[in-house]
């Protein structure tokens, strides 16, 4: 299922944990004894690999944020849905289905590596600026052109696979079987990508390995018994593809293509290293003497000659508010200058947390190659302690106390990064501070003009800080510096200038004169007057409003044409949103239509809403886990694995029972009731846990409860799809059209759910109200189903 890739990407990588898959595999041992089933599993596997790899590559090229991710995913899912749907329509015209099945797979195997290379080259070929963020129209059209072939073919193959598995007596069970096999392929892909492929191979290698597996499947697994009977041309084509991919890999042709394509992609720079981690892509490149490390195509740090002005201002000006800082912590973004500035304080000890180990690894590689300051002094100082862990998790677990905590994440633009800008986090940070301790963070600013999105974001974080600290000072600039403390912070220029001189640190730009410019009362007054009418919202863990505000800010210059959408969402009341989620009830008047037509509409709505609810539910679970326990990759993987295992298990059970099931309508209603229950249980559990009304051992248990929730919701979704197919085929015998259409509904629901949950719903209305909205959606579907049953 394609939108599972959305889920994996949103969790910053692939997924899955080993032993989990034994059970579904054992359960499906019977199915696996057929070679065709292996081939179907490979289709699921290759589809998932292609989605994740192509999306990762596209995000690098588009320098993506959540907004461009939405466009790309939308294109993928629409193309895949179109493929599945069109296959349903064309199936009768395809006379040689077996041959089509093979040719399409081979075409997919050829198209996948081609797409990876094309993504890397297209900016260069079209003479686009390498570092420019493209407008929405260009992102839409180019990503459509780049992924249309693999996504369309994969969608087409789903429906074709259903046809290949079709049993005359029970068409719906073949859909169920393919659904389960595809999910197992997805899980295998996620597992292999996470633990084997992404850490060890680059995308071109992965694409060719996948192509080799597909061609192997076409050669040996798909109808090998009929090789003797088939046309020689077909066999020759299969053999050719297999040998082609094998030789490309053995002769390292993929390596040559990889080097060629990244050199074109980073034209004008000499590539020093290229690392893929589960968190993203880390590239180090050289221009003249300067080495740049890119994280997902954004410069993470440079050495030598970093942005000295920012380094000095962000580190030293806040520390002027402290009489004698000795212990500091930096969360992310410290390499390449900021850490070196802290080292200027002779007694300073620093804890530095970085989530992605690949960044630190790359930094050490650079240092080994050539000594470049400030990087060298940062990597070799005994006073800096590196912790490759989520900053929030580290703060939760450390017993150290700090004079200053610096958050070097620039924007709370995602649910994950927002956890460092919430009231709950600030409270935690405060508890780890010494007397006179400071919390320092930065946000986008301007001394010329503050746009509305900038004001909202800065205003919310300021009021959130004020709700925790008794004193908050904002130093306006191109980057606004927020300094917070429980000690009274007073911008007494002469005292701060004296302290600056007393410290006798050699600065390039930060002189008493420069300080007087930065702290000029004119700027303070201007900033305060600009912020006067900004509503004082609080950014909370469970109501992460700053995610929306950050997205709105990014949107204001990446995609200004969409500002009206953000304004609309910003101003909409929850009641209106709630009524929107009751929209499926609009189908109710159609209950007077013939039952089969009405029933089809309702079933489509059920599948669509389940896709949407499922994506929301998973996002909510991940958010909760990250809030309470930190970002732990293995656990995030486990959630995805449990969810997918749930789907395959549910699909398997459902497919088994479906043949003898007398009242599938009742069963699907029951599934909806269970989902409603889950939508109540999740916020209830979150509330109980958040409010600390549970005994302490329950806190340890909570993560397992969340895992169980994932598994159960996955099970419900998996159980529903074959049921829906059964009901649909009862009213419309053409299995292939059913499979194509419902698959498309499922995909679209998942896609909309992903975008809606992470950018709008949870950030604007918080977890509890968002759950109510999804509850409303599912309730509406239940009502529709009730009418459908009544009319039977």
């Amino acid at each position: 299922m394609s939108y599972r890739a959305v889920f994996c990407l949103s969790a910053k990588g692939g997924s899955a944990s080993g032993g989990l898959f034994i059970f579904p595999f054992l359960l499906y041992n019977k199915i696996m004894n057929k070679k065709l089933n292996w081939s179907l599993l490979i289709i699921g596997f290759s589809g998932m690999v292609a989605q994740i790899i192509l999306l990762r590559e596209l995000l690098i090229v588009y320098l993506g944020n959540e907004l461009s991710l939405g466009i790309i995913l939308g294109n993928w899912l629409i193309c895949e849905a179109a493929g599945a749907f069109l296959a349903g329509q064309l199936m009768k015209k395809i006379t040689r289905k077996h041959e089509a099945f093979i040719y399409l797979q081979l075409l997919f195997s050829a198209v996948f590596p081609f797409s990876v290379i094309s993504i890397r080259l297209f900016k260069s070929v079209l003479h686009m600026n390498p570092g420019e963020i493209l407008g929405p129209g260009t992102v839409f059209l180019s990503s459509l052109a780049l992924i249309i072939l693999p996504s369309f073919i994969h969608g087409f193959l789903f429906t074709l696979s259903c046809k290949m598995k079709e049993k005359k007596d029970e068409p719906a069970s073949s859909i169920g079987n393919v659904y389960v096999l595809e999910t197992l392929g997805n899980i295998t892909a996620a597992l292999l990508l996470t633990y084997l492929l992404i850490p060890r191979f680059h995308s071109v290698d992965i694409a060719f390995i996948t192509s080799l597996i597909i061609s192997f499947s076409c050669l040996f697994l798909v109808f090998p018994e009929s090789i003797a009977n088939q046309r020689p041309a077909l066999f020759a084509v299969r053999l050719f593809f297999f040998l082609l991919f094998l030789s490309i890999l053995l002769l390292r042709g993929s390596e040559t293509l990889h080097r060629f394509s990244i050199e074109k992609q980073w034209e004008g720079q000499k590539i020093l290293s290229y690392e893929n981690s589960v968190y993203g892509n880390i590239v180090s490149a050289q221009m003249e003497e300067q080495v740049i490390v890119y994280s997902n195509a954004h410069p993470a740090f440079i050495s030598p000659f970093p942005d000295i002005e920012s380094c000095e201002e962000i580190i030293h000006i806040p520390l002027l508010f402290h009489p004698d800082p000795q212990d500091a912590m930096i969360i992310s973004g410290g390499l390449g200058g900021f850490l070196r500035e802290l080292l200027h304080y002779p007694k300073m000890n620093i804890d530095y947390t970085e989530l992605d180990p690949a960044i630190i690894k790359t930094a050490f590689q650079i240092d080994k190659r050539k000594r470049l300051d400030p990087l060298h002094s940062e990597l070799n100082s005994e006073r800096i302690h590196y912790h490759l862990v989520d900053g929030r998790l580290f703060l939760n677990e450390t017993s150290s106390l700090y004079d200053a905590v610096f958050i070097r994440v620039s924007l709370p633009a995602e649910l994950q990064t927002n956890r460092l800008f919430t009231k709950e986090f600030f409270l935690k940070a405060k508890s780890r501070m010494k007397k006179n301790g400071l919390l320092v963070l930065t946000l986008p600013g301007s001394l010329n003009y503050l746009t509305d999105p900038m004001k909202s974001l800065n205003g919310t974080i300021r009021s959130t800080l004020r709700s925790v600290f008794s004193s908050v000072v904002v130093i306006p600039g191109e980057t606004n510096i927020f300094v917070s403390s429980d000690n009274a912070l007073d911008i007494n220029l002469s005292r701060l200038q004296n302290r600056l001189e007393e410290r006798n640190i050699s600065h390039q730009i930060l002189t008493p004169f420069h300080l007087s410019l930065k702290l000029d009362p004119i700027y303070q007054e201007w900033f305060n007057s600009e912020m006067k009418k900004v509503p004082e919202k609080i950014n909370r863990d469970l109501h992460p409003v700053s995610v929306f505000q950050s997205q709105s800010y990014l949107n204001s210059f990446f995609y200004p044409g969409r500002k009206n959408i953000f304004s609309w969402f910003k101003n909409i009341s929850f009641v209106k949103i709630l009524s929107l989620f009751f929209l499926p009830l609009a189908l109710l008047p159609f209950a007077i239509l013939p039952q089969r037509i009405y029933s089809r509409g309702v079933i489509s709505a059920a599948v669509f809403s389940t896709g949407l609810a499922s994506m929301f539910f998973n996002m909510a679970i991940m958010l909760l886990f990250q809030i309470f326990y930190g970002y732990i990759y293995s656990w995030i993987s486990l959630f995805i694995a449990f969810f997918m295992a749930g789907i395959s298990l549910g699909g398997a059970v459902s497919t088994r029972k479906i043949t003898d099931m007398k009242n599938p309508q009742r069963a699907i209603s029951f599934i909806q009731y269970c989902m409603l229950l889950m939508l109540l249980a999740l916020p209830a559990a979150a509330y109980a846990f958040n409010a600390s009304v549970l005994p302490s051992f329950a806190h340890l248990l909570f993560r397992y409860i969340l895992l169980a929730f994932s598994l159960v919701f996955g099970f419900l979704q998996g159980y529903e799809f074959p049921l829906a197919s059964k009901i649909y085929t009862l009213t419309r015998r053409e299995m292939e059209k059913t499979a194509g259409f419902l698959y498309a509904c499922d995909l679209m629901g998942g896609f909309i759910g992903g975008i809606l949950s992470t950018i709008f719903l949870i950030p604007l209305f918080g977890l509890f109200q968002s759950c109510s909205a999804i509850f409303a959606l599912k309730s509406a579907v239940v009502i529709l189903l009730l009418f459908a049953q009544k009319n039977r």
């Binding site: 320098l63 003479h127 600026n129 390498p130 570092g131 420019e132 963020i133 034209e267 004008g268 720079q269 221009m287 003249e288 003497e289 300067q290 740049i292 890119y294 195509a297 954004h298 410069p299 440079i302 030598p304 000659f305 970093p306 942005d307 000295i308 002005e309 301007s446 001394l447 010329n448 003009y449 503050l450 746009t451 900038m454 191109e478 390039q508 730009i509 002189t511 004169f513 420069h514 410019l517 000029d520 004119i522 700027y523 201007w526 210059f557 990446f558 200004p560």
Partner: protein, 359 residues
């Protein structure tokens, strides 16, 4: 290439044919009336042809019933005080402060604009102050600054406001400067210059394709403006923002320096400034300092006397050296003047004439 710009302009004008909200309107100084209530703006080389109700590419000029109006006269959105070195002006009242003024809008579309918040927007989309020329001059006097600087977005697009304010400021003993892309027609520039104390021109590249693809402008028109400034004897400085991979080739920089040397002389201050990721170019790195140093040495090799490296705090070429005795005559650190050895426009050590506005 030219087509890209033309299409951009056409699209923009077509899309801007929407009803405009009410603004204090001032009739534009440079335009021609055409048939059927159409007008052609004559301010900048885009020469937008506008039907009734349409706006120019700059977003701030509107044709209403066959009359072209400026929508931002007396309506600045940014007004603040800052050091003159930040412009950067290095040969203009060093160490002094300026009142910076800007309105919404711009006649270019640079993808790396540092002031995109105001330059890439329409006046109705942002908050502005009601500050007619008289009030603005009063404000400058109340802050005690010697200079009003029209900057941030693109002063050309609020020409009428700048012109009226400059005229008034001069009569009140203030100086005026503009920080501009230089994409203006000759006639309006000639009319403005008598009231302008100094001009800083952003020479964005020396490649026509860069201008058209990255900025939606044209190089040749900017070069014409530079020639005009030289001809009129006005003090001006040139800033080149060196962007990695886009305009940093040695050949391009060499050609640029040769052109400056041949057409503008050796004494025009030339600043090579370091690119900092901004707006839509956030994934390009900062310019390597070595690239800037190479550019500096190419310019010096062409015989230019005053070549600077900007945005690299503490760099030795951030300071001014006397071309004659080679001594450091202005020692800069960031925006701070640490030492100033210029007296009455001459080097305090050897008496060599240093071009600029020093008093």
């Amino acid at each position: 290439m030219r087509k890209t710009v033309a299409v951009q302009i056409l699209l923009f004008i077509l899309l801007s044919s929407l009803p405009s909200p009410a603004f204090p309107e001032q009739e534009a100084l440079f335009y021609k009336k055409r048939d059927n209530d159409e007008v052609q703006c004559e301010l900048c080389p885009h020469r937008c042809m506008l039907s009734d109700g349409q706006r120019g590419f700059c977003r701030v000029r509107l044709n209403r019933n066959g009359v072209l109006y400026s929508l931002v006269f007396g309506q600045p959105c940014s007004v603040n005080v800052g050091p003159i070195e930040k412009a950067p002006f290095y040969h203009f009242l060093p160490g002094s402060k300026r009142l910076c003024v800007a309105t919404a809008g711009c006649n270019m579309r640079c993808t790396y604009c540092q002031n995109w918040e105001i330059s890439q927007t329409s006046p109705e989309d942002i908050r502005s102050y009601d500050l007619p020329p008289e009030k603005l001059v009063e404000k400058a006097k109340s802050f005690g600054v010697p200079t009003i600087c029209f900057t941030y977005s693109e002063p050309i697009i609020f020409y009428e406001y700048m012109y009226a304010t400059s005229k008034l400021a001069l009569s009140e003993g203030l100086k005026t400067t503009m920080v501009s892309n230089g994409f203006i027609n000759q006639e309006p520039m000639k009319k403005l210059l008598p009231y302008m104390s100094a001009v800083k021109i952003d020479l964005k590249s020396f490649s026509e394709s860069f201008y058209q693809d990255v900025c939606a402008g044209r190089l040749e028109n900017v070069l014409e403006t530079l020639r005009l400034l030289k001809k009129e004897g006005k003090h001006f400085e040139i800033v080149v923002l060196v962007i990695p991979t886009l305009n940093d080739s040695s050949m391009e920089i060499l050609k640029m320096c040769q052109w400056i040397h041949e057409n503008l002389g050796d004494d025009v201050p030339l600043h090579f400034t370091r690119f900092v990721p901004a707006y839509k170019l956030t994934s390009l790195p900062m310019t390597p300092v070595q690239t800037l140093e190479k550019a500096h040495s190419l310019a010096k090799g062409c015989g230019l006397n005053y070549v600077y490296i900007g945005n690299v705090p503490g760099h030795m070429f951030n300071s001014t050296y006397c071309p004659s005795c080679k001594k450091r005559i202005v020692h800069r650190s960031g925006y701070e003047i640490k030492e100033l050895h210029i007296k009455k426009g001459k080097c305090a050590f050897c008496g060599y004439d240093i071009p600029g506005v020093w008093e």
